[in-house]
């Protein structure tokens, strides 16, 4: 392994760009906070805090998807991801950072009683409302805060434990016995994370954080839909970083073969997302019960019509048609383009999921959204770059590394 560069050096350009993006974002954030966030107008407040909410939730969840990716491939005894596993590991270090932002925003929204965002915070309205009284055991401030704390805390903690274990693969060569033990410990920790992930991202967290904005409405598909959305964008984010690192001349052991498999994840989970999108939409459309169609009414027939169907084109038709061919999934340029498109598509999806319920009359996708987006992208680039530089890029004594080197699709 003499010719392999294990140490990532952060390029000056990356630093400039990330700090620039953070600067622009911070400006938008502060300007928005002053003019909208703390304004006396409730619409402005809802607009600002809603925008902040969908951004932080989106970025926390797609960075968390990286750790989920490591854990499921570990559980499946996968070897192919070892040559580039430090990239998803680095992305998953964002969970505590974005998680604390999400935590701060959500706790602020709940504690300052923003019942225009979470209608169930309004105690008088809940007392008069049979449906909301029925949900009160789940939708109340105390449970919300405890569960949010636990969710973010355990994602960070269990993810950190996975990453700590991964460090052992840098230390010393493993004989057969140590290797087997190492894999077993990996499996146990990955299983713990996956179980917690299923209890949170797979079910309760999207209900609490996003679905409860429409306090009366519910859909059993919602959490899976959110999961699919974040997982496919998470895979796209991994692909983007992978391609970036390849371009900079790192990741010598990772080739088109690995890109092909990452591309397959992007392709397959785009279709999985569509499956859930359709299952949720079709059942509600078919039954046509007012208490259920209330969610889709203004999205399909109102102001959000354009975004709603654009969403389907970007997140289903484009990946389906463009990523179907084998040669497309092996083409760095095309996968990079699709990754950006998919992340953008699911960002738009999150926009309509949250803002579609908060600001129903009009779509004002504008400077605030893109400003805060640049803030989050900047933070992501800055910290992921740092995390990549803090560790060797390849776990060179990992027992499965050879399997990854000779990986062939």
């Amino acid at each position: 392994m003499a010719s392999i560069r294990l140490q990532f050096e952060i390029p000056g350009k990356m630093k400039t760009w990330s700090l620039g993006l953070i600067g622009v974002g911070l400006f938008a954030l502060i300007y928005g906070l002053v003019t909208k966030g703390f304004s006396s107008d409730e619409h402005e407040q809802v607009h600002f805090w809603g925008t902040l909410m969908y951004h932080t939730i989106f970025w926390t969840l797609i960075c968390n998807a990286s750790m989920f990716f490591i854990c499921i491939t570990t559980l499946a005894m996968g070897g192919w991801q070892q040559s580039f596993r430090r990239i998803p590991e680095a992305i998953s270090t964002m969970v505590p950072i974005f998680g604390s932002i999400t935590f701060a925003v959500l706790i602020y929204v709940v504690l300052s009683d923003k019942h225009h965002i979470y209608h169930w915070l309004d105690k008088e309205a809940v007392a008069k409302d049979v449906i909301l009284t029925g949900k009160a055991g789940f939708l109340n401030a105390k449970f919300f805060i405890i569960w949010t704390t636990l969710a973010i805390g355990f994602w960070s903690f269990l993810g950190w434990r996975m990453r700590q274990l991964s460090n052992e693969a840098d230390a010393a060569p493993m004989d057969h016995e140590t290797g087997a033990k190492f894999i077993l410990r990996n499996t146990v920790r990955a299983a713990l994370f996956t179980v917690w992930f299923a209890l949170t991202v797979g079910s309760t967290v999207p209900w609490l954080w996003m679905m409860s904005i429409d306090a009366h409405w519910y859909s059993t598909m919602y959490s899976w839909y959110t999961f699919a959305s974040t997982f496919v964008s998470g895979m796209s984010l991994i692909a983007l970083w992978l391609i970036y690192m390849k371009n900079k001349g790192y990741m010598e052991l990772t080739s088109q073969e690995h890109l092909h498999d990452v591309g397959k994840f992007m392709f397959a989970f785009s279709i999985f997302w569509t499956y859930l999108w359709f299952s949720q939409y079709m059942l509600i459309w078919y039954a046509n019960i007012p208490e259920e169609t209330v969610y889709f009414k203004h999205r399909v027939q109102g102001a959000y019509k354009g975004i709603f169907f654009l969403n389907l084109i970007i997140n289903f038709l484009c990946p389906l048609i463009i990523l179907m061919k084998r040669s497309a999934k092996r083409n760095y340029t095309l996968v990079a383009f699709m990754a950006v498109l998919i992340i953008f598509g699911h960002w738009i999806d999150f926009y309509q999921m949250v803002m579609g319920s908060l600001v129903k009359e009009k779509v004002d996708l504008g400077w605030l959204d893109f400003g805060i987006l640049s803030f989050f992208v900047g933070i992501m680039i800055f910290f992921v770059g740092r995390a990549l530089a803090s560790k060797p890029l390849i776990p060179k004594y990992h027992p499965f590394l050879k399997e990854s080197i000779i990986h062939q699709v």
Partner: protein, 196 residues
């Protein structure tokens, strides 16, 4: 439907097979096929086989299924026999998507299985020559097609030097023919032998 002459080399190890395949190809011989007891990863690359077009066929079958479903249902429900179902519009696209999806999968799956069988020349009541019975058990059997100029003795010696544990020469039908596996004889016997 012509018989051809083949030289067969049997290998008992993958690690020997791969360099042998490479050697035989660089020496300019035409490999008819390599029969292995299990799928060997990367052997297709080593043999220089072109990528299969089975997936292209699958895509076309799938598209055919989609078109069939959508055109049939839309014609039936809007032109031929419009029904009021739950007050839905006659052109009720979301309700048709599951059927469309299923027909797409059905067409693609059945079509691909049949195409696969055709490409591999597999079918009921059809027989293909077996070059070596142990290719279904533990031997990797490389079959090389001979031309009139091929010196079979040289080729056998070449294969043995490349690590073959067993070599022989067979004159056999290369394609499939109507017949039964439990009957050894071909129903028709062509005396003509292309390569002497």
């Amino acid at each position: 439907m012509a018989k051809k002459k083949f030289v067969i080399g049997c290998f008992d190890d993958e690690a020997v097979l791969f360099p042998a395949v490479k050697k035989v190809r660089t020496a300019g011989y035409k490999i008819h096929d390599v029969y292995t007891p299990f799928a060997v990863h990367g052997l297709d690359h080593a043999m220089g086989l072109r990528e299969t077009s089975l997936h292209t066929a699958g895509f076309i079958y799938g598209i055919t299924g989609t078109t069939t479903a959508l055109s049939c249902i839309s014609w039936i429900f809007t032109k031929d026999w419009p029904l009021n179902i739950g007050g839905k519009p006659h052109f009720a696209l979301p309700a048709w998507i599951p059927i469309t999806f299923e027909l797409t999968v059905l067409f693609a799956a059945v079509g691909m299985v049949l195409t696969f069988c055709y490409l591999c020349q597999l079918a009921p009541f059809v027989k293909k020559h077996h070059f070596h019975a142990r290719s279904t058990d533990d031997l990797f059997v490389m079959v090389i097609e001979c031309t009139d100029k091929t010196n079979t003795d040289d080729l056998q010696a070449f294969l043995t030097s490349g690590g073959a544990v067993e070599t022989n020469v067979q004159v056999a039908e290369e394609g499939w023919w109507l017949g039964r596996y439990d009957q050894n004889e071909m129903p028709f016997e062509t005396k003509e032998i292309v390569a002497a």
